[in-house]
């Protein structure tokens, strides 16, 4: 019982509160902007050369207000926003009217989850292990070389990194396909050919994601390990003649890993939005690609839906992580 009251309850309250604040921010921020999305949309139609007579204009403004959830006072809008949210209904997509937003999301989400869940994990595992060992042997030659590579790759904007890799590995040396989720015309059925095609298409985006994620975790881990390495208990363990491999992996890396576990949790949360650039560059049919098209078409409902989903995803993964944390770190007890 003390576990529930002392550990679970405060965190659950915090979780609900942060989610609430995040979603409220998603509601408030667009409304703070000095811009009227309805006027913008009408202007967009007019710029296509559509003539809108004045009486139809009023009807249109009303319809659009309803679609955007912009009727009534701010408070009424807010209540309506929550009502729709709790029903999981974000209204129809504006660009692919009248397909519901949620249908689009659920159609493309599996692609993203498959690609990102795996690469996030792999990038983290590689980054942490290599970073950990490199941090322990920081003065060795190859640790410095790895560090140099990380220093070179880290600042490159992710878009440019993936563009360069695409150029190099799909265009100059055509090892990987240029883009897409599977070969054109492949029926998505459960057979070897389909799976091979999906894997081949996922390889290059996965590679860029692993590189980008791995380098970040590498640097963070290396820094932490360099700190942990100087602690007394490590010196003591070495003086006691404990096998060095055991010291590195069991004592140093395991202790240094804790903050990076938090990072991993956060990056799992960012899966829902973080793949935008990857999926745009590689034309990968996941949620980021949907988001990219939504941005291009000004599909406000869809952007809003993805923003809300990813707020919930992030807070939830942080919450779950908080609950799992004592399993990893014996110093944090379920008090």
């Amino acid at each position: 019982m003390s576990f529930i009251r002392g550990y679970l309850l405060p965190r659950a309250i915090q979780y609900v509160l942060v989610t609430f604040l995040g979603l409220t921010a998603a509601f408030v921020l667009p409304r703070l902007m000095p811009i009227n999305p309805i006027q913008q949309r009408i202007a967009q139609y007019q710029s296509f050369g559509v003539y809108i007579p004045p009486e139809q204009r009023d009807v249109m403004i009303r319809t659009l207000k309803e679609l955007y959830g912009l009727e009534g006072t701010l408070f009424e809008q807010y209540i309506a926003f929550w009502k729709r949210l709790l029903r999981g209904d974000f209204g129809p997509s504006l660009a692919q009217f009248p397909t519901p937003v949620m249908e689009l999301v659920s159609r493309h989400l599996p692609w993203t989850l498959g690609l990102l869940a795996l690469t996030t994990l792999l990038g983290w595992v590689f980054g942490t292990i290599v970073g950990g060992v490199a941090g322990y042997y920081a003065r060795s030659r190859w640790a410095k070389i790895l560090d140099g590579i990380a220093m070179l790759v880290r600042p490159i904007p992710y878009y440019i990194l993936s563009l360069l890799l695409l150029l190099l590995l799909a265009y100059v040396f055509p090892i990987f396909p240029l883009g897409g989720g599977a070969a054109v015309g492949v029926q998505l059925a459960l057979n070897l050919q389909t799976i091979w095609s999906i894997l081949r298409h996922a390889a290059l985006p996965a590679l860029t994601l692993i590189i980008a994620g791995g380098v970040t975790h590498f640097q963070a881990m290396k820094l932490i390990v360099q700190g942990v390495r100087a602690e007394d208990y490590v010196t003591y363990a070495k003086a006691a003649g404990i096998d060095e491999r055991r010291v590195v992996f069991r004592y140093v890396i395991r202790n240094a890993m804790l903050p990076t576990v938090t990072q991993l949790g956060l990056s799992f949360g960012f899966v829902f939005s973080g793949a935008l650039i990857t999926e745009m560059v590689f034309a990968y049919p996941g949620i980021g690609w949907v988001l990219y098209n939504a941005v291009m078409n000004g599909d406000y409902n869809l952007i809003m839906a993805i923003a809300c989903i990813s707020v919930v995803a992030i807070t939830t993964s942080v919450f779950i992580l908080d609950l799992l944390y004592p399993l990893v770190d014996p110093r944090v007890r379920y008090r």
């Binding site: 921010a25 902007m33 070179l152 265009y171 949360g269 939005s273 935008l276 941005v295 923003a307 707020v311």
Partner: protein, 284 residues
């Protein structure tokens, strides 16, 4: 300038210093440009690099080199505005939270925690897609500043927390120094190195976000920045048509500029961190 000499001994600092000197010179050249950066069809289109168009020309009929000088200048404007404004916010919030403590501290820090947890990139996309064409370098800089302070406010806060417990704080308070004066006269000098090194890191962050947002077509595309130059090159299929001089110029400049700033900030913060300074001189 002994500090500069010490820093200059760091290879990364040397490299980034000269990269930045080169890029700032290029940016300054934009004031002498013979062309108006916003006008199209001023030179023959799609010319490969040759004299007098050293880096070739674009499909828009602009000279790549002169366009790039404006691009660097505007990207630097975004970065500097974002950096300066977010440093001001971070310093004020960090110092207030650290010095006042209690409820104010808890409120301010939960706000900054909230900022850290929100999917920043997504929020920026949401806002930028509403603002679209209005995002000139100044507005974009301000928008980025609004989101770029949270982590550094935290760092400054923890610095102030430790300063508050020092002897000289009590001396100052007991001798009747007013709070604001204490903070600005006594604490600020400790915080300034922190502000400086995070400022440069923040600039790199702002430039790389500018590139990303511009690629998505979410900023004012009429104004040349590193991002919008790349956007135009990509949307004119310069890559497939083989106009590599057009694509590679903004790519190379963006990588150079961001890497330069990143290395500068890494070498600065290592220089300022007393622990690594000991390591450097060889004391262990």
């Amino acid at each position: 300038m002994p500090m500069f000499g010490d820093l200059y001994a760091d290879r990364r600092f040397r490299l980034s210093f000269w990269i930045l000197v080169l890029l700032v010179t290029l940016a300054a050249l934009s004031f002498f440009s013979p062309y108006d950066p916003t006008r199209w069809l001023q030179v023959p289109r799609n010319q490969p690099p040759s004299w007098p168009h050293i880096l070739g020309t674009t499909s828009k009929g602009q000279d790549v080199l002169w366009e790039a000088t404006f691009a660097i200048r505007n990207s630097l404007v975004v970065a500097i505005i974002a950096g300066v404004v977010s440093r001001i916010i971070a310093t004020l919030i960090g110092m207030t939270a650290g010095y006042k403590g209690g409820l104010i501290d808890r409120v301010l820090m939960s706000v900054s925690d909230g900022m850290l947890v929100i999917p920043l990139f997504l929020v920026l996309i949401l806002l930028a897609s509403l603002l679209r064409g209005r995002l000139n370098p100044v507005n974009l800089g301000l928008l980025l500043a609004l989101f770029g302070w949270a982590w550094d406010a935290r760092t400054i806060r923890s610095q102030i927390l430790s300063l508050r417990e020092r002897e000289f704080t009590y001396t100052a308070i007991l001798s009747g120094m007013r709070t604001l004066r204490l903070i600005f006269r006594e604490y600020l000098p400790f915080v300034i190195p922190l502000i400086l090194s995070t400022f440069i890191g923040n600039m790199a962050w702002a430039i790389s976000l500018e590139v990303t947002l511009a690629i998505l077509g979410l900023t004012n595309l009429d104004i040349p920045t590193l991002g919008t130059s790349l956007h135009w090159a990509m949307s004119y299929q310069a890559l497939l048509l083989g106009y590599f001089w057009w694509v590679m110029t903004p790519v190379a400049l963006a990588v150079l500029l961001i890497s330069g700033l990143y290395w500068l900030s890494v070498s600065l913060s290592e220089y300022l961190d007393p622990r690594t300074r000991f390591q450097r001189i060889g004391v262990k």
